[in-house]
Amino acid sequence: MTEILNALALFSNFVLVPAIAYGSQLALGALGVTLVFGILRFSNFAHGDTMAFGTMLVILVTWWFQSLGLSLGPLPTALLALPFGIAGCAAFVLLSDRLVYKYYRKKKADPIIYLIASVGVMFVTNGVVRFIIGPDDQNFADGERFIIKARDFKTMTGLSEGISIKVSQGLTVVTMIIVVAALFWFLNKTRTGKSMRAYSDNEDLALLSGINPDKVVAVTWILAAALATIAGTLYGLDKSFKPFTYFQLLLPIFASAIVGGLGNPLGAIAGAFVIAFSEIMITYAYKRFAGYILPEDWVSGGLLQLLSTDYKFAVSFIILLLVLLFRPTGIFKGTGV
C-alpha cells in the first residue's frame, strides 16, 4: 500500500504538479494567441516576444521595488509590479498595432501579410528586449519559495517520497483560474466582450450593428498584452526569464491553440493542458515510479523514459501534426480550417 502511495506521491511531484503549472502558463499564452486570431484573424508570431517584453517590464519594476524595499512578504514582489508591466506592454502592443497592423487592416490585406508583419514586429520586440535587459537568464523571484517542502511532506505522511509545491506553482494556478474566470465573464457578460465575440463571429454584420471595430481591436490587443505579461511573468517566476526561451514557447503555445481549435478560448485552455501533460508525461523517466509499483525483477536498466527532455518540443509538434491530420478544426471547433 505504501508502495502505491509512494508511487503516487512521486508521480504528483514530478508530473502532476509541474504539468498543472506549465499547462496554466501555456493556457494564458494560448488564450492571447487565440484571441488575436479570433478578432484580427492572423497567427501572431510576435506573441512569444510580447510575453518577453511584458515580463521584462515586470522584472525592471520588480528590481526597482526591491531597491525601495517594497515587498509582498511571502509572495513574490513581481505580483506588485505586474500591473505596471501589463500597462507598459499594452501601450507597446497598441503602438505596434497603430504603426504596423492598422495599415493592413485598412487595406484588408491577406492574413499571410499580417503574419509576415508580425514576424517583423517579433524581430523588433526581440531586439528591444535584448537591448534593454540582455539575452541572458534573469532571476527575479523572491519571497517564500515553497508552499509545501518535500521534507515536510515526508515527515507529515511518513512516506519516503515527498511532494513539494513551489509558491510560483501555486500562484500560477490560482492566477490562471482568476484570469480565465475574469476573461470569460468579460467575454460573455459585458457589452464590450459580447461585441468582441460578435466581431469575431461575423465582422460585416458586427459593423452593420454599429460595433466600433477600432475599439474591438484595441481591447483585443490590451487583453492579449495582459495575458502575455501574466503568462510570461508566471513562467519566469516558475522557471527563469530568458528572451530566447520565450521565443521557443511559441511552438507549444501555438500547438495548444490549434489543438483546442484556433479562435476558441475554451479550446485554448484544454489544448494547453493536453500539451503540457503530454510533454511532461512523455519526457518523464519512470524508473523510480516503476520501482514502486512493479515487482523488483521486472524493472530492468534504463530510465524508462519515452523521450529525452531534449525533445520536449517534439511532443507538442507531434500532437500538433496528429490533430492537423485527423481533426484540423481542433478538439473544440475553432474558426480556422
Binding site: 508570431f45 495599415y103 499571410i112 524581430f123 531586439g127 535584448r130 511552438l251
Partner: protein, 438 residues
C-alpha cells in the same frame, strides 16, 4: 535577362560595396562576405520559389539548411570502423524497424476507412514500433557513443567528396519538406508556418542531442574541403610563383585564393539554380503556379490540383535551401549544431526575400547580397553609431557601457525595421515581380 537599367545599377552598387570593403577593410573580409552572400542568395532563391511562386510561408528554413549541413558531414567524413563494429548493426536494424513501422501505419491508413478504429490502430502501431525501435537502438547508440568519445563517439560518414553532399543535402531537405507538406498543405497557410517552425526546432534538437550521429554539441570539425588547403598552397611551386607575379604575401594570398575557389564554386551553383528558377517561372508550370497563387478559387474551379502543386513547389524550394545549407557547412568546414539559430537562418532569409522582391528571382538574389552585407557590416556600423551617441557621456558611465555592450542587439531591431518598412512602403521589393505577363 534583367530588365531595366535600375536593376543593373542595383547590382553594380552591390559589387561596388564588396570592392569598397575589399579596398578599405580587407580583401579577406570582403571575400568572406561575398561567399556568404552567394549562399544567402541561393537560400533566398529557395524561399522565393515557395513564397514568390506559390505564396507558401515557410518558417523552418533553419531546419532545411541544417539537413543540408547534416548531409555535408555524413557524406564527407570518414567512417569510424570501431563505432560501426560496436553498434552499426543495431542502428541498421533500427532503421529497418522504423521503415517497417511507417509502412505498416501507412498501410492501415490507406486500406481502412476513416474511423476511430483506424486512428487507434495507427497510434498503436506507432507506439509499438517506437518501443521496439528504442529497445534495439538505445544499446547500439550507447555503445557507439562510448567509442573514444573525445575524438569520435559517432558512426562517422561515408568518406566521399564533400561536393556530393550538396545534392544529397537537397534530397534530405526535400524529404523532410515532403512529409511536412503532405500533412499541412491544403489547410490554412498559418498551419504550414507553425508546422515548419516546429520541424526546424526538432531537426536542430536532433542534431544537437544525437551524439552517435552528429557528435552533438561536441561538433564535427575538419570536414574535408572541395578546394585546396592554404598550407599546401604555400608549399607548392606554382602557387608561390603566382603570388610573386601578383607581388602578394603568399600567406594572405593563399587564404584569398581559397576563398576565390569557393566563390567560383558557389557562383556556378547560384547560376545553375537561378537559370533553372527563371526557366521554371517562365514555363507553363510557372504560369500555373502564379495563377494558383493569385486566385486559388478560380484555379480550383479550373480543376487544378492545388495541394499537389503546392507540395511540389514546397519540396523544390526546400531542396534549394538544403543545397545551400550543405554549401554553408562545406564553407565552414565543420558541423556545429548550436549555430543553427532561427533568427539568423530563418528570419534573416525572409528579410532577404521580402526586401529583394518576392516573386522575382533576381530580386531574391539581390536581397541575399544586400541583407547579408548589411548584417555583417551592421556590427561595426552599430558600434560606431553607439560610440558617437555615447561620446558625450562620462567614460565610466554605466549607461554608456550598457549601450555599447548592447550594440550587437541593434542588428535584430534594424532587420525587423527593414522588414516592416519594406512590407509597408515598398511591398514589391527592390526588384519587383513583373506582372501582366502571365
Amino acid at each position: 535577362m534583367i530588365s531595366g537599367a535600375k536593376n543593373v545599377f542595383l547590382f553594380a552598387i552591390m559589387a561596388a560595396l564588396v570592392v569598397f570593403v575589399g579596398q578599405y577593410q580587407s580583401w579577406n573580409l570582403s571575400l568572406s562576405i561575398l561567399n556568404l552572400c552567394l549562399i544567402s542568395a541561393i537560400m533566398s532563391l529557395g524561399v522565393n520559389i515557395q513564397w514568390g511562386y506559390a505564396g507558401l510561408f515557410n518558417v523552418g528554413i533553419m531546419g532545411f539548411a541544417a539537413m543540408g549541413g547534416l548531409a555535408a558531414m555524413l557524406i564527407s567524413v570518414s567512417p569510424v570502423p570501431e563505432a560501426w563494429a560496436a553498434g552499426g548493426v543495431g542502428v541498421i536494424i533500427g532503421l529497418f524497424i522504423l521503415i517497417a513501422t511507417v509502412l505498416a501505419a501507412m498501410f492501415s491508413y490507406r486500406k481502412m476507412a476513416k474511423s476511430p478504429m483506424r486512428t487507434f490502430l495507427i497510434v498503436l502501431i506507432s507506439v509499438i514500433g517506437y518501443f521496439i525501435l528504442r529497445s534495439v537502438v538505445d544499446p547500439a547508440t550507447g555503445a557507439i557513443e562510448k567509442v573514444n568519445p573525445a575524438s569520435t563517439g559517432y558512426l562517422g560518414g561515408l568518406g566521399l567528396p564533400i561536393i556530393l553532399a550538396w545534392p544529397v543535402g537537397g534530397l534530405f531537405a526535400g524529404a523532410v519538406a515532403w512529409v511536412v507538406g503532405k500533412i499541412t498543405l491544403g489547410l490554412r497557410t498559418d498551419y504550414l508556418a507553425i508546422a515548419t517552425l516546429g520541424i526546424s526546432e526538432i531537426i536542430v534538437a536532433v542534431l544537437k542531442h544525437e551524439d552517435w550521429l552528429t557528435r552533438g554539441v561536441k561538433n564535427v570539425t575538419g570536414l574535408p574541403r572541395p578546394v585546396p588547403y592554404e598550407i599546401e598552397l604555400q608549399k607548392s611551386e606554382w602557387f608561390l610563383s603566382l603570388s610573386q607575379r601578383f607581388n602578394a604575401d603568399p600567406v594572405t594570398f593563399s587564404s584569398i585564393f581559397v576563398k576565390l575557389c569557393y566563390a567560383g564554386l558557389f557562383t556556378v551553383v547560384l547560376l545553375i539554380v537561378l537559370w533553372l528558377s527563371e526557366k521554371a517561372l517562365r514555363s507553363p508550370w510557372g504560369r500555373m503556379m502564379r495563377a494558383i497563387r493569385d486566385n486559388e478559387v478560380s484555379a480550383n474551379a479550373m480543376g487544378k490540383d492545388i495541394k499537389a502543386r503546392h507540395l511540389q513547389v514546397f519540396v523544390l524550394g526546400s531542396i534549394v535551401v538544403g543545397i545551400a545549407g550543405a554549401m554553408l557547412t562545406t564553407l565552414d568546414g565543420q558541423l556545429t549544431p548550436s549555430t543553427y539559430q532561427p533568427l539568423r537562418f530563418t528570419f534573416l532569409i525572409w528579410v532577404m526575400v521580402i526586401v529583394g522582391g518576392s516573386g522575382n528571382n533576381w530580386g531574391a538574389v539581390l536581397g541575399g547580397f544586400v541583407i547579408w552585407f548589411f548584417w555583417i557590416e551592421a556590427e561595426p556600423l552599430g558600434l560606431w553609431f553607439m560610440d558617437v551617441i555615447t561620446s558625450g557621456m562620462a567614460e565610466d558611465s554605466s549607461l554608456k557601457a550598457h549601450l555599447i555592450e548592447s550594440a550587437a542587439h541593434m542588428r535584430l531591431m534594424t532587420m525587423g525595421l527593414i522588414l516592416l518598412l519594406t512590407l509597408r512602403f515598398s511591398p514589391r521589393g527592390l526588384i519587383p515581380e513583373k506582372v501582366g505577363r502571365h
